[in-house]
Symmetry: C2
Subunit: 249 residues, 2 copies
C-alpha cells in the first residue's frame, strides 16, 4: 500500500488569453524538479484553463436584457453579471437572495453557471467555464505528453456547492486519461463481505484532494497527484447525472 | 509549499462491538512505523466506528411496520431493512425504485439513512451511523492522544451520493480538532484580485482525499493525512446545512 502524494504546482505567472498553459505547467513542474509518471494525475483549476482559452468577458461589454434584470432584482446580483450567467445556462434551477443555481449548457448544476467575477484594478471581468472541459483536458494532456515525454492523466477542477451541505468542494468538470467513476457494484469487501452497490466518483475526489494544497489564496493553479493508478479512457462527463434519472432537478 | 501525504492505515483486524478502536488504530500506526504529528489528521471510516460502538442490528430481530412495508414496495428493498432506515430518519426526502433518500436524526440527507447492510455467512446485519459522530470523533481523538502522546485531528468519513452528480464521495460526518469549514469570504486571491464569496468544506475534502487510498475493497479503515495544518476547534456539524437555509429539502 503506497501513500498518496499531492504536490502543489506553484510558480506560474498570471495566465492570460492565448497563453500556452501546457508550456507554463511544464516549466513550473521542471523548476520544482518533479518527474511525472504515466500513473500520475495533474489537477488544474478551471480558472487558468478558461483564461488561457480566452473564455473571459468584460462586464462593460455586456447589456442586460429583461430576464437578467428580473433575476438581478431577485438575487441582488449585478444585472450584466446575471446576463452572462443566463447566456451560459439552459435552465434556472433555484433563485433566491444571493443565490442563482442554474443548469449549464454542459449539464452542470451549480451556482452562477460557474461564472466567476474578478476585479483587477479598473478591469471588471467574468471568467466562464470552458466550452468543452473534457476536450480542454484532452488537449492539455496531449500537449503535456509532447513536452514531458510521459502522459499523466489530467483533471480540470472547479469549486461547486452542494445540496444539503455547507461549503464548496472541488469537483472534476473535465478529465482525460482518468477513470473518473470507479464501479464497485457487485463487488464484496474483505470485512463482513458487504455487497457494495457503489460507484465512487474518483474524479471528484481527486479534485477535492488537490484543492487541499491549492486553496484559494495562493497562486497555485495545479497539483500533481502521485501514488495512485486511476488510468482510464474516461472523461468527466460520466460524473454528470443524466437529467432523466435526476430526482433533484 | 509542502506536499500532502495520505498514508493508508492497513492491518486492523475485523472490528466488533466493544472493540477498542483507538488501541487498534494505534497498534496499526506503530506497525507501519508512522509518527503522527499534532497537525496530522486521522480519517477513519464510519463503519469501524459504528461497529466498535455496537451500532449494529441483526436483520432477523427487526419487524417491519406498515410504513416500512409500503416504502419497501416502492423501492424494492427488504421491508425490515427499510424499517431500520426509517427508525434512523426524521423525514423521507425522495423515494423511487432502488432509491430511498432520507434526512437522518443528525440532519444528514443521504441514501438509506447511512444504514449499510452486510452479509457475513449466515449473519445478515445492518450497520447504523454513530448516534453522535462528532462525539465519537472527540472520544477517539482523546483516546489516541493518550496512547500516542500527540493529538492529531480526527475525521469520521462516510460515502454519500450527491444531487446532480454520479457516484459517491466520502464526506466528514464527524470530526474533532479540525477546522472543517474554511471561511474565505471577503478575502482576495493573488491573481486578478478575485473577491471570494467562498467557504471551503475542508472536512469533506479530507474525507474524499483519504477515500482514494482506502477504496472499498481493501481492509483499510483509516488513513493518516500529513503536511496540512487544518487544526481548529471545529466539529463536522458545521457542514450540515441549516434546513431553514436549504433550497433542496
Amino acid at each position: 500500500l503506497t501513500p498518496l502524494r499531492i504536490i502543489p504546482v506553484a510558480g506560474l505567472p498570471e495566465v492570460t488569453a492565448g497563453a500556452d498553459l501546457a508550456a507554463l505547467l511544464h516549466a513550473a513542474i521542471q523548476r520544482l524538479q518533479l518527474r511525472p509518471a504515466e500513473t500520475d494525475v495533474i489537477v488544474v483549476t478551471q480558472k487558468v484553463v478558461s483564461k488561457s482559452e480566452g473564455r473571459v468577458v468584460r462586464l462593460e461589454a455586456v447589456t442586460a436584457g429583461p430576464e437578467a434584470r428580473r433575476v438581478a432584482e431577485q438575487t441582488g446580483f449585478e444585472p450584466r453579471h446575471v446576463q452572462v450567467i443566463l447566456n451560459e445556462s439552459v435552465r434556472v434551477v433555484r433563485v433566491a437572495r444571493q443565490v442563482l443555481i442554474t443548469e449549464t449548457r454542459h449539464g452542470f448544476v451549480c451556482a452562477n453557471a460557474g461564472v466567476d467575477r474578478s476585479n483587477a484594478g479598473s478591469r471588471d471581468q467574468l471568467v466562464l467555464l470552458p466550452i468543452d472541459p473534457d476536450a480542454s483536458a484532452a488537449r492539455l494532456r496531449a500537449e503535456l505528453g509532447r513536452l514531458m515525454g510521459v502522459s499523466p492523466g489530467v483533471v480540470i477542477s472547479d469549486s461547486f456547492g452542494r445540496a444539503w451541505r455547507e461549503g464548496q468542494v472541488d469537483v472534476a468538470i473535465g478529465a482525460a486519461g482518468v477513470n473518473c467513476l470507479a464501479d464497485y457494484r457487485g463487488s464484496r469487501d474483505g470485512e463482513g463481505y458487504q455487497l457494495h452497490g457503489t460507484m465512487l466518483a474518483t474524479g471528484d475526489e481527486l479534485a477535492s484532494a488537490a484543492e487541499l494544497v491549492m486553496r484559494k489564496l495562493d497562486r497555485v493553479p495545479a497539483a500533481l497527484v502521485q501514488g495512485l493508478d486511476v488510468r482510464g479512457d474516461g472523461d468527466a462527463r460520466v460524473l454528470r447525472r443524466d437529467p432523466a434519472l435526476d430526482l433533484f432537478r
